[in-house]
């Protein structure tokens, strides 16, 4: 047996698992080899040192603490208990709190456009309506029909607003509103251009050679000579206007809003809308300047109201009947141009006897 083999059997010798020839050989080698004898002594010391480590006791009360932990219900049960027990008291309270939270969320959501506007416009806002007459007077290039429409007087020559004028923004109309528009004439809510150039809030005469205002380009089917009066698509009108006032930079995209109100009595609803718009400091552009004919029994016109009043206007319309298109975003400018169609609710089918 050599030294390597001898040291490989130290553990077995130490644990009494070596017997017979193997044990005799190892003991014989240790007797003649001082190096292995020294290694064997160190090996034994190491194991004795490990034995000397002994047992360690935990702090007093360990078993009681473990028992307490074991008897403690798991966290999810504790959570449920804390949340719902006693359920006779906590459940009604929590249900009430949830309802309040939902109401609060809806209210905040409904008022958020105004709040957003207030945050974005820290300075005092000028009322749009008082300024309006002067600026309107200062717009010599407006056609008489257009002026008439601006003043809210009815005009029979103006075609209704073509829905196609909405351009790509038509995709943003809510599905319900879109479905509604497929069967009846839609209404348009148009975001005015940026506030500093808002022609709705403060129309001013464009400088010579300046590009025509986009808002005007969608209106003036009524501004054409009587002989040429025909329903003109806004896009077409826009192109023709731009061609007249070259060079024309590409017009800024015009956001819009289409709303349809279905009500039992169209005349009453129209009256209420007119009164309300007047009180709110807005005005009606009547009829809606667009390209499609208005089906009989419906009324279509555009409304210009302060943007802050849009939520109240929505509320009024909701009172008057079933409203579609309210989901669209409120413009972030002083005034909002809303094109509205009021259509009669179809009478309930007669009961067959």
């Amino acid at each position: 047996m050599n030294c390597y083999d001898a040291s490989a059997r130290f553990s077995e010798l130490r644990d009494g698992r070596l017997s017979g020839v193997g044990r005799t050989e190892l003991e014989g080698h240790l007797a003649i080899c001082p190096a292995c004898r020294r290694e064997w002594a160190h090996f034994q010391e190491t194991i004795e040192a490990l034995h000397g480590l002994g047992a360690v006791e935990p702090r007093p009360g360990f078993a009681a603490r473990v028992r307490e932990q074991a008897e403690r219900p798991p966290w999810h049960r504790r959570l449920v208990r804390r949340l719902f027990v006693p359920w006779q008291v906590k459940l009604p309270l929590e249900a009430g709190a949830l309802v309040l939270l939902a109401i609060g969320t809806v209210l905040i959501y409904q008022r958020s456009p105004e709040m957003r506007q207030v945050v974005e416009r820290p300075g005092p806002q000028q009322p749009a309506v008082p300024v309006e007459p002067e600026r309107r007077d200062a717009a010599p290039d407006l056609t008489p029909a257009y002026k008439k429409a601006r003043e809210g007087k009815p005009s029979q020559q103006v075609g209704p607003l073509k829905r196609g004028a909405s351009g790509s923004r038509a995709d943003e109309v809510a599905p319900q509103a879109k479905a509604d528009l497929d069967t009846s004439v839609g209404a348009v809510v148009r975001k005015p251009p940026p506030p500093e150039k808002s022609p709705l809030a403060a129309p001013s005469p464009p400088p010579a050679g300046a590009p025509a205002d986009r808002r005007e380009t969608i209106l003036p089917s009524s501004s054409l000579p009587q002989s040429e009066a025909r329903p003109v698509a806004p896009r077409e009108a826009e192109e023709s206007t731009q061609a007249l006032s070259a060079p024309a930079p590409p017009p800024a995209p015009q956001p819009f809003r289409i709303m349809t109100l279905r009500t039992r009595d169209v005349a009453v609803a129209e009256e209420r809308v007119r009164e309300w718009v007047q009180q709110a400091g807005g005005r009606l552009l009547d009829p809606s300047p667009a390209g499609e004919p208005i089906p009989s029994g419906q009324r279509a016109f555009s409304v210009v109201i302060p943007t802050q009043a849009v939520a109240r206007f929505d509320a009024l319309l909701a009172e008057l009947g079933q409203l579609f298109g309210k989901e669209q975003e409120v413009p972030r400018s002083n005034e909002a141009l809303i094109s509205l169609t009021i259509s009669p609710k179809s009478p309930p089918p007669a009961k067959s006897e």
Binding site: E45, G52, L53, V56, A64, V66
Partner: protein
């Protein structure tokens, strides 16, 4: 040690019967029976955890977790092996898992003042061979224990666990094989390598 698994077989059988009754009651939610089981096995479970981890507070937390784990698994205890062996399995695996997660999240290991970095270590191990040491025997013995514990902690978790199970807890090769799920030959060779490695680490202090 509260219970030596490889002690007198007759006494073991009596204790095992006691364990089985307590296990039956504890598995049905009897807190007293569970507390009795904890009291009976807490010393060796805590010793195992302390020798494996080297920190008193951490070892106590670990021992607590081991008992809670065992308590929740009591219904799955099949009584094919002894309760202590089953508990050893849970304890050892839990400690090895803890060491593994610690290895993944390395932290500064605080060594006590007796950890010598180079220099002359001194003949500390003389205490083992010479029981008639001087007046400072207790102090030196404590130093020795601290030194061995520190060197034990430098070993790999596998070597550490097999040394703790065999040379501190005194389990048989067969019990170690059952706990660590190793073949007898693997137990023998791994134990020998672990002992030789510890011997080499303690060599400078002789």
């Amino acid at each position: 040690m509260a219970e030596e698994p490889s002690a007198d077989p007759q006494a073991q059988a009596v204790r095992q019967d006691d364990d089985l009754v307590a296990i039956e009651r504890a598995s049905t939610g009897d807190g007293d029976a569970f507390e009795m089981l904890v009291r009976k096995h807490q010393t060796w479970v805590f010793t195992l955890a302390y020798r494996m981890l080297g920190d008193h507070a951490e070892a106590e937390e670990m021992a607590q977790e081991i008992f809670l784990k065992a308590f929740r698994a009591l219904k799955r205890f099949e009584r094919k092996s002894r309760f202590s062996t089953w508990l050893y399995s849970i304890a050892t695996n839990h400690c090895l898992n803890q060491l593994e997660s610690r290895r993944r999240r390395p932290r500064v290991q605080e060594l006590n003042g007796s950890a010598r970095k180079g220099g002359n270590p001194g003949p500390l191990l003389d205490q083992v061979a010479d029981p008639t040491a001087g007046a400072d025997q207790a102090l030196e013995r404590a130093d020795l224990q601290r030194l061995v514990q520190e060197q034990l902690l430098t070993l790999t978790p596998e070597h550490r666990s097999i040394l703790v199970l065999r040379d501190i807890q005194g389990l048989t090769y067969e019990e170690i094989g059952e706990i660590l799920r190793l073949e007898p030959g693997t137990v023998r060779s791994r134990l020998h390598r672990a002992r030789m490695e510890l011997k080499e680490r303690l060599q400078p202090y002789r």
